[in-house]
């Protein structure tokens, strides 16, 4: 019986988690309004074609750091607060702002900003959680915010206080929100389909009145005023630079609603896409799901003949959003890591094997997400800070799996799980700034160098971190537990040495390739730029470790201590130098990331200090003697 349990528990556990993962792929069914289908409509924003679903999720991330909207934030999570999907929220902001403007969608943490905006504090009986506020609550204080923002704008971002940063951020959020409100219809439209029809009817007379007025002839004042009011309204819409929601009319580019409406008097007819959106807006505001769904279906069918590619891409991205591969992989990594750590204490092979099976599943999901992203973007894996975190986690996890295959002592598992979890947490936080698939600026627009230089450098990062992580395991197990016997210690040291060699190769090649890229694009191989220097320090550090080891200047423990130093230099290169770039004088002290980096470096220095303790103070070493 026990044997059967030992044999079958790991694959069964993995199957359970796999079922859990696959069950989430099915999106929740639309109840009345087909918001799920609405989410699949293509739009262009930030220069990129994406589904409404992504626009909604990214906007919510920017506004409140979550991909869903909690309508009752004052309730505890166990009181079953009403939570709606990002697309339901976005559809209402765009087409039914009377309702959406009352939803608590803006997260405000800074107390000074809360008092500037005269927002109420936490009060459950009045349905206030003291953190989330609606447009209606903020709107009365827009003037004071505007005034503060024009002052803050003149201060270099590095020199701003936390409050001033919050002001600038809030201003950006309100701009985003105002843009979304004006993407489909003028935000203050009462009955948009009727207003659109009135505008269309007015165009001939309105144009005539304007022409007459310009020529100095008699003109119809009523028509002129009504027409001018429309034009002003549409110009206001366009100036907010909302998403481009209308498909090309003929051969051109995607269009903003405001621009298309302004084009109508110039002889570009108001087409079906404009009307379909107006129908959707009218139906949503009048709470008529059937009409909304019918208009949505009409619009979708007009896109099918001309925009098949865009539709397919949008659908694929919606599926990716629904899958949330990195979040799900993170959850499984945690579980696997815990199992592997427990396996060290009771030395249970079943636990270790369970960890291996789970890591295989998590790595599969992680890989799927990575490849899916590459296909969606048409790019190599690393294009920005966010994707570098995903890739470093992936590479480290792969190295951990290889180590586990050779050594079979649970250490590789803990490396995979730990690095996977930490990097995906970092990625999750980096994603809070909005779209993570932003377009590449001209100089970066080269798949060849992104695929070679960037991948090599990030592989160098990943492997340096793996060496550092192994060193942490060595020290923690050695100092605090008796589990680091001589064989384990030796095998850990051998792993660290091998990984440092690997890291040296990749960080060197990656750094030099970066120089060659620079030589190709602006004619200088090496410019002592902070990012270049950061990468160089990693190379030098790894080379130093190898030479110290070859010279016999350091041995097992020295190697371990030096490898932890690798964590510090890599983090410096990955994040530290970016903060220098932002913070010309204050070193970005107000930046939340700076706090985390400082904490991390301090913790690593603490581990180095532990590693330098004399052997008799190590539990494992005294146990051996």
């Amino acid at each position: 019986m026990k044997k059967i349990f030992q044999k079958w528990f790991p694959p069964i556990l993995m199957t359970v988690m796999a079922v859990w993962f696959f069950s989430q792929l099915q999106p929740p069914k639309d109840k009345d309004f087909a918001f799920g289908e609405f989410g699949k409509l293509p739009v262009i924003y930030d220069g990129r074609l994406k589904p409404m679903d992504s626009l909604a999720r990214n906007s919510l991330l920017q506004l409140r750091e979550k991909q869903t909207l909690n309508l009752e934030p004052w309730k505890g999570w166990n009181e079953n607060p009403k939570i709606i999907s990002a697309t339901e929220w976005l559809a209402n902001v765009m087409m039914n702002p009377q309702i959406a403007d009352a939803w608590p969608v803006f997260r405000v943490d800074n107390p000074d900003l809360i008092s500037l905006l005269k927002l109420p504090g936490k009060n459950e009986s009045q349905h206030q959680d003291g953190k989330h506020y609606s447009w209606n609550q903020i709107a009365p204080s827009l003037d004071s915010l505007e005034k503060e923002n024009s002052r803050v704008e003149k201060i270099e971002s590095a020199n701003r206080t936390a409050y001033e940063n919050a002001v600038a951020k809030m201003h950006g959020r309100l701009e985003l929100y105002a843009g979304l409100k004006n993407a489909v219809q003028p935000a203050d439209a009462q009955d948009w389909p009727a207003e659109l029809a009135a505008y269309e009817k007015l165009i001939p007379d309105g144009v005539a009145a304007v022409k007459a007025q310009q020529a100095g002839q008699k003109f119809d004042q009523t028509n002129f005023d009504a027409f001018a009011a429309f034009i002003q309204e549409f110009q206001f819409m366009s100036n907010l630079e909302p998403p481009l929601i209308l498909p090309p009319n003929g051969s051109g580019d995607w269009r903003r609603m405001g621009d298309a409406l302004l084009d109508a008097p110039r002889g570009v007819a108001i087409d079906d896409s404009i009307r379909d959106y107006a129908k959707m807006a009218g139906a949503l505001a009048a709470n008529q799901p059937e009409k909304f769904n019918a208009a949505l279906k009409d619009y979708y069918s007009t896109l099918v003949p001309t925009q098949a590619k865009a539709l397919a891409k949008a659908r694929a991205e919606v599926f990716f959003n629904q899958m949330q591969p990195f979040y799900n992989a993170m959850v499984i990594y945690v579980l696997a890591g815990l199992l592997a750590i427990f396996s060290w204490f009771n030395l249970s092979e079943t636990l270790r094997r369970s960890a291996v099976w789970l890591i295989a599943l998590a790595f599969f999901i992680h890989t799927t997400g990575l490849i899916y992203r590459m296909v969606l973007e048409g790019r190599p894996p690393v294009t920005n800070l966010y994707s570098s975190a995903i890739f470093i986690g992936w590479g480290a996890c792969l190295l951990g799996i290889i180590l586990e295959k050779f050594h079979k002592n649970g250490i590789g598992c803990v490396v995979s799980a730990g690095m996977g979890f930490i990097t995906l947490i970092i990625a999750h936080n980096l994603a809070l700034t909005g779209d993570t698939m932003e377009m590449m600026r001209a100089v970066l627009d080269t798949n060849f160098w992104l695929a070679t230089h960037v991948v090599a450098v990030t592989t160098g990062y990943a492997s340096t971190y793996v060496a550092g992580f192994l060193a942490l395991i060595y020290i923690v197990r050695g100092v605090f537990t008796k589990t680091l016997d001589e064989a384990t210690g030796k095998s850990l040291a051998r792993m660290i040495y091998g990984i440092v060699c690997f890291a040296t190769l990749f960080s060197f090649v990656g750094t030099v390739l970066g120089g060659i890229w620079a030589d190709q694009s602006w004619g200088r191989f090496w410019g002592w730029d902070p990012k270049e220097n950061g990468a160089l320090i990693i190379v030098l550090w790894n080379a130093l470790i190898l030479h110290l080891r070859w010279g016999g200047i350091i041995r097992e423990r020295g190697l371990v201590v030096c490898a932890i130093g690798g964590n510090i230099v890599t983090s410096w290169s990955w994040f530290g130098v970016n903060m220098l770039g932002i913070g010309l004088h204050s070193y970005g002290f107000t930046d939340a990331a700076f706090k985390w980096l400082s904490l991390f470096v301090a913790s690593q220095l603490g581990f180095i200090a532990l590693g330098l303790l004399p052997p008799r103070m190590w539990k494992s070493f005294s146990a051996r003697a």
Binding site: G47, D253, A442, L505, D519, S521, G523, F525, D529, I553
Partner: protein, 415 residues
């Protein structure tokens, strides 16, 4: 200590370790220093330096004495070469390590050569314009032109108090003031103005004043000098020469900044006064003189046909910069069109032309300006060394680690 012992120091692995550690410190401190000092100053103080004395970090002066980048690099090179000569043995076991180190030597030597021989300049032109020279971004020259004959004096020779006599010029030049960086202001009539700097030429209409040197890579110094020209027996007067008048793009900058204050017509008038040539006459020969970026003439010419600046739809994010250029070389009879874009430079006659800056696209068209482009022109005879060095090191490390790995794996299998 015997000579042999002394020589052995240079072959030691300990020295390698010390040097690697030192270089980490220098690179790190040199990076931090860029925050306050800017890239150029930090480079000069920490990397292109033998001994670093004092550091300026976090806005304060810190006592610091350390070997500089040049010293560490040279010692590393000596260390590497000595160690190789001393320990060299031709065996397949060591081939990876030797290849790696040879690659590192090549990289270090190549960078040294680049430092000594590479030369950068720029070509800036509007659509339709043809240029057969490029201009330095950092060096200036004082040029005297008599007919077609040009005499150029590098601004490095213009030191306050010096008197320069040049064979081809019938007068001496006395440098009264030289400002590495300067600013310019129009002397508006009817205003309470201090007396002009000198009573000739451009100084009558403009005030020039000294400014602190620039710190970052995207700004540049704009020099101005006050000179006196002295003929055989009489002075030809004091003159102000400035890059503000000598460089067309700067004149345009001044014009644009005044256009907002005083209107387009007045601004054009001011600009033409700033750019008006200054000259002296001696023995019936007229010499026009100007201070301008140092020119490098090429045996071929480039004409900008089209400058393209594309953005992603609905944004200002640049998607693509490219210049279509007509290349004409009368010596070889070449006359062809080439396209230069980000990441795709033109390599021609030992020079490389990179897309550098651009003023084109929708905004420029709407403002009614002619699109223009700036190419970076680099002569770097050792540009290939990083490519070869990188390949050697990569191959060397790969061989080394793979042999280790194979050994490790086969050992485990036999166990």
């Amino acid at each position: 200590m015997s000579i042999k012992k002394f020589a052995l120091i240079f072959t030691s692995l300990k020295l390698t370790c010390v040097l690697l550690a030192c270089s980490i410190v220098v690179v790190f401190v040199g990076t931090l220093a860029q925050v306050d000092d800017g890239l150029y100053a930090a480079q000069a103080h920490y990397f292109r330096q033998w001994i670093i004395v004092g550091a300026h970090l976090f806005g304060r002066q810190i006592p610091f004495l350390f070997p500089g980048g040049y010293l560490i690099g040279t010692l590393l090179l000596v260390n590497l070469i000595c160690a190789h000569i001393y320990r060299f043995q031709l065996s397949t076991k060591k081939i990876g390590i030797q290849l790696t180190h040879a690659g590192v030597i090549l990289l270090l030597v190549g960078q040294l050569a680049t430092d000594m021989f590479a030369h950068e300049s720029q070509i800036s032109f509007a659509e339709g314009q043809t240029k057969n020279h490029s201009e330095s971004a950092t060096d200036y020259e004082l040029v005297f032109r008599n007919g077609d004959e040009e005499t150029a004096i590098s601004s490095k020779l213009l030191k306050a108090g010096d008197e320069l006599k040049i064979d081809s010029l019938p007068f001496a030049i006395v440098v009264k003031t030289f400002w590495k960086n300067s600013d310019v202001n129009f002397r508006a009539p009817m205003m309470q103005n201090a007396p002009p700097l000198v009573s000739n030429g451009v100084a009558l209409d403009f005030d020039f004043m000294q400014k602190p040197d620039v710190k970052t890579t995207d700004e540049k110094n704009i020099p101005t000098a006050i000179i006196e020209l002295i003929g055989q027996n009489n002075s030809l007067g004091d003159w102000v020469v400035s890059d503000w008048s000598g460089e067309a793009s700067l004149v345009e900058t001044v014009q644009n900044s005044y256009a907002q204050q005083v209107g387009a017509d007045m601004a054009r008038n001011i600009a033409s006064k700033l750019a008006a040539p200054q000259s002296v006459e001696i023995n019936g020969r007229k010499f026009i003189f100007v201070l301008r970026p140092t020119r490098i003439y090429h045996p071929f010419s480039l004409t900008l046909l089209k400058a393209t600046h594309a953005v992603y739809p609905g944004t200002d994010i640049p998607k693509d910069f490219r210049s279509r250029v007509q290349l004409k070389n009368p010596q070889t009879g070449e006359n062809r069109e080439v396209e230069i874009s980000m990441n795709h430079p033109l390599r021609y006659k030992g020079l490389t032309f990179y897309q550098y800056q651009m003023s084109a696209g929708e905004m420029v068209e709407r403002a009614g300006e002619t699109p223009s482009s700036v190419l970076q022109v680099v002569r770097n005879p050792s540009w290939l060394t990083p490519y070869i060095g990188c390949a050697m090191v990569a191959a060397g490390l790969l061989i080394q680690f793979l042999t280790h790995l194979v050994k490790f794996v086969s050992k485990r299998k036999t166990k």
